[in-house]
Symmetry: C2
Subunit: 564 residues, 2 copies
């Protein structure tokens, strides 16, 4: 019934223009080849440390394989054996250090001044992209980023109110062009004229430090656009330019000047963080096929374009599916397979027919209805934990709202017209790896496990620049970038203040079924009937069942960024 059918192969029309290098990744090639085709099949569904976060159905399956999915770190000298254990479930020990100070001190009372830190979640995935050369599609209507920025914040005053915002600044003043022949980005001239400044203010803003630190702060809903007249509040960028996303944490009293249509103010109370691996080049259509592949492999919404296991191409998948019927099918062609062009084989429920007909409804129902529904519970006020410990299900309660004590700071200043602050100052950042990129819910469990030692804790209790990873012997530890030589951020105080609405409504719907603890979702870990509450670091109680269900500890990146 469908009027148009996709071509069977997901290569773009430009495929003829690729270099072999671009297609196979050359020296950056992952070592996947070593494996049997059967093993690689599942990679296509989104594997390794980074979980899709949206298809609860395949989570369990993948966790069983991740130990060998991450064993390859293209190009970099990073040790492979570090990632493997981290990727796997049940090794939650790596989780703990993410909240070193807050968790240690049994917070609840205000903490003394400590360094605000921001860890990038999903750093591993970001780096995978970064090694290839991250591209982000921008459209007139606005396009989400993939991976999305997700960070974990620590070192805030639990009782102060903060805004968290994100902006994206030019890395240089160049325009780029992708040369298919060499599979490289080349400078193609100077940058286009600046675009109207836009800031994505996290929809949970303002919130208490406790709230921010309790969850993974996700920027899933942020959208990029090339429409300079955009009135949806999306971040406006030029195509074929290089950009650097930044995260800002602004104390409420300093947020007077904060606006979605003005550059983020600078000064005390505004801390800015950036992560080098999140640099990307904007495009209106993907240039590097490797990027396309990785996006398709990892973004659940692009599942339809998977060959059912990327590197293990479609044919191999079919071989597997039909092995029972035709044991020696190794050399078969598409024509050999009945219905290949129109539908999947009878036994291949997980085999997406690339040219499949619409006549095959999804009655296979891959989604397990009992998968975690990740709800969020609201409390009217911050509560004494004792009120909720009586729970017969060993559940904790999430104090969603800042609570009475959380906003004794009222910003009394008027939101006066913000004088254009001028160029942003550069930002430093240190970054450790071993992270989940897209926000594996299970992986981002912000819980400190009582009684379980935190092997990396020692490395994280120092200041931001001392971050390191105990279990990653050969890993470089952290990267320290000098002042980011980012292109001047000068926008006209400008006429197009045409601020406009931005849809934040369906916050978290994307990751609704998995990324617990993201501030986007205001969710809490909850698997099936189990109830697991985050308690803002004030307690260390939690349902130990969570461990068995939601391991995959490594997805939290030990990235610590230092602000200016």
């Amino acid at each position: 019934m469908a009027e148009k059918r996709r071509a069977t192969c997901s290569l773009s029309v430009k495929a003829h223009a690729f270099s072999v290098e671009a297609l196979i990744g050359a020296h950056k090639r992952r070592k996947m080849e070593e494996r049997g085709e059967g093993q690689r099949e599942r990679e296509g569904e989104g594997v390794e440390e980074e979980r899709d976060a949206s298809s609860p159905d395949d989570s369990p399956r993948q966790r069983h394989e991740c130990s060998r999915e991450t064993d390859t770190e293209p190009e970099t000298a990073r040790a492979r054996d570090d990632d493997s254990p981290a990727d796997c479930d049940c090794d939650v020990s790596l989780e703990s250090p993410r909240r070193p100070l807050a968790a240690q001190k049994q917070a609840g009372t205000s903490l003394p001044v400590e360094e605000t830190r921001v860890e990038l979640q999903g750093s591993d995935l970001w780096k995978r992209f970064h090694e290839i050369g991250t591209e982000m599609i921008i459209t007139k209507a606005g396009r989400r980023m993939f991976p999305a920025m997700r960070v974990k914040v620590s070192g805030l005053d639990p009782h102060l109110q903060y805004y968290v915002a994100m902006d994206i600044i030019p890395v240089d003043n160049k325009r780029y062009r992708y040369v298919y022949h060499s599979s490289k980005w080349m400078v193609a001239g100077n940058a286009d004229s600046p675009v109207p400044p836009r800031v994505y203010i996290h929809p949970d803003s303002p919130a208490s430090g406790e709230t921010w630190m309790r969850q993974v702060v996700s920027f899933d809903k942020l959208k990029l656009t090339n429409n300079e007249l955009d009135d949806q509040g999306h971040i406006i960028l030029h195509s074929m330019h290089k950009y650097q996303p930044r995260v800002h944490i602004i104390c409420k009293e300093c947020a007077d000047e904060l606006s979605p249509v003005k550059p983020v103010p600078v000064g005390e109370g505004v801390k800015t963080f950036s992560f080098p691996e999140t640099v990307f080049t904007t495009v209106t259509a993907y240039q590097n096929q490797q990027i396309t592949r990785l996006k398709i492999d990892r973004n659940p919404f692009a599942k339809g374009f998977r060959d059912s296991g990327r590197n293990r191409m479609g044919l191999e998948a079919l071989v597997e599916s039909y092995a029972f019927w035709r044991p020696s099918l190794r050399t078969l062609t598409f024509e050999d397979i009945p219905g290949m062009a129109k539908q999947g084989g009878p036994g291949s429920h997980s085999l997406l027919s690339t040219g499949g007909s619409g006549a095959s409804p999804a009655h296979t129902h891959l989604l397990s209805p009992s998968a975690c529904s990740s709800p969020a519970f609201h409390l009217g006020a911050s509560m004494s934990a004792s009120e909720y410990t009586a729970c017969s299900r060993s559940a904790l309660t999430l104090s969603r709202y800042g609570g009475p004590l959380a906003d004794t700071y009222g910003c009394l200043g008027s939101p006066g017209a913000d004088p254009y602050p001028g160029p942003r100052s550069g930002s430093y950042s240190t970054a450790n790896s071993e992270a989940d990129g897209f926000g594996n819910p299970h992986a981002t469990l912000p819980l400190q496990i009582p009684g379980m030692p935190s092997p990396q804790l020692q490395y994280l209790t120092g200041n931001a620049f001392s971050a390191n990873q105990s279990q990653q012997g050969t890993y470089s530890g952290f990267r320290l970038h000098g002042p980011y030589g980012l292109y001047g951020y000068n926008f006209p105080t400008s006429p197009r203040l045409a601020t406009s609405p931005e849809k934040v409504s369906s916050q978290g719907s994307f990751l609704g079924s998995s990324p617990s603890g993201t501030t986007t979702d205001r969710q809490i870990m909850s698997h099936g009937e189990g109830l697991h509450m985050l308690n803002g670091g004030q307690q260390n109680l939690f349902d130990s069942r969570t461990l068995g269900i939601s391991g995959l500890a490594n997805s939290s990146s030990q990235v610590s960024a230092h602000m200016v």
Copy 2:
């Protein structure tokens, strides 16, 4: 390919047990019959004053017809000619009076003490259900209410912080049983033992009075369950009991005791509102077929069950479809129609095949990609409106966050253990009609049109009990209920504090494309490229194009409830 096919008719298995009265609505029957079949066809897509709020595609179409869609008010003595103009587009004058005080005073500076008022949105739809006998399905997993509670709040101090919450209390201590023979609910004994108390705290809580008053406060995400062990934060109810939803507005300093698992506290600073037309009976499966019909007709998610125009039942629709081929088909039976059991007729594009095959993918693409995307824009701080008036698109900006001045009130008290407050006191309420129930986005536009007279303003500026409707001659005006004789609300201080998460993440996704101004969505009117901003009543500027696009003024209900 589908393994199971729905029966051709959407009548339940209990259909054999209905009385004719139940099927045709007896004296409550709407006068639709008078119309030609062609006119009534589209009713099935969700018409009258209440708009689906989720299918932007048919909005325009419907507005062209609504003038005659709402002309019937079953049973009540309500004048029909009142509703007609109100339902139609362009008559925005009815919108204005909804925000009498805030809009009048050019708020922005604090208002003197005034009566807090709450208007039920979608009162018309609620009353339609109420007249039949509203039923709400409850499931173990939790079921949304339809219609959802949506209210408009006024009379708050714009600069104070408030929580808005909802709970649902028993109307009496009886258990009910539906008697198909008489199509009536009969008492079947005493109520079951009380269920654990649950309160749905609106996810936007706490927020400033300005924020609450600016938007329609929607309880879309609230879910009902019959699972007493629920850990999702859903409201727990008994099946076959009668309940009354209530809305509470709690000033932040009084919200210490507010908890999702404890009864709403009483006392100063807590104002409770209830609307008689929102009483419902809980069921696990619909009892009254008229309820089923109305639900299917109005709930966009049930569109698949529409016969393409409910009251203009399936057969009539087919007659129309096949009229061209068989002009005298009035007496035909299902068997007369080729393919009746499996697919719709050739010419009825809007006729959903009741038993249709899955082999027909949605390539018709009903959704217009250019339809309003209803985005929400965040502002880091409340801003001086002057900053945004320069917009070349005559757009205004929504000040999303309370802003600096919005929380000078910090509740310093600890969230101490809340002593069980005991039975709720009854609540009074006055209610005017003429409302949209489900929250037609366009209809809930909280804008005061400068220069446009507000015919009903005079009736709404008084205290809560003086509400009336100027244009509804014969309507009773308002209802004043004495202290609601609601069943005692005594729950054990109880053991199952098993509070638990509640998913609030995808707030507004349901109404994402239409109900602007709902606090659930934090959205702003925005049609296509147009940008319309709500400004919290601080300004009256807005893009006049909104009028032409988003009329349908009547959907805002002039309901004013009085709290205890």
